[in-house]
């Protein structure tokens, strides 16, 4: 992993189209601005982790669900 130190209002470029800027540092929280082309999807990593976990949870269905649906 490449590690860089940045101060407030400094930024880094990833390639020539993606800019990551440190907007504010408030205690433990850091506000980051991201400029990227529309084709680049930006998500918090928790979102991905939550979806992965949800997919796994969705797999643990018991076979009784079909009967349960019919009862409805």
């Amino acid at each position: 992993m490449l590690v860089l130190s940045r101060k407030k209002d400094e930024s880094i470029m990833i390639g020539d189209q993606i800019e990551i800027k440190i907007l504010a540092i408030e205690g433990e929280q850091i506000k980051i601005g991201i400029v990227a082309p529309k084709t680049v999807k930006v998500h918090r990593s928790e979102v991905f982790e939550a979806i992965q976990a949800q997919n796994k949870e969705a797999l643990s269905i018991s076979s009784g669900f079909l009967e349960q649906l019919k009862k409805k």
Partner: protein, 147 residues
Amino acid sequence: MKITTKFLGEIEISEQDILKFEHGLLGLEDEKKFVLLPLDADLPLAMLQSINNAEIGFVVAFPFAFKKDYSFDISEEDREQLQIEKQEDVLTYAIVTMKESLQDSTINLLAPVIINIGAKCGKQIVLQDNKSYPLRFPLQALEGSAK
């Protein structure tokens, strides 16, 4: 060819039924080939079954039956990847997390499964953070809107 399914026993599928998921599903990146199998015809539900692994079978729902105003844009990148040329080719499903009771069951509106039925390929996409399309949307909502 014959495949073993999670709930529907052994079934015969044809090569043309196979949907390729180049990137698998999130957390299941190695599962790249699925088929869509009908469940009860009266319900807006189907099974998304891996052809290589019987355990990997999801209940998926037609999301518009649960949230009428569900809508999103498919990014340029995804459109290219799924070779989408016209809207009619696109099928959208949401993965269902079935619980003991339907009241506790949810569908995932945040990361729908997009299928290009013409090109036989699919992908689970992640929508931009949007409070109205949560990861766990109550399935119960159907009762209100469908009755």
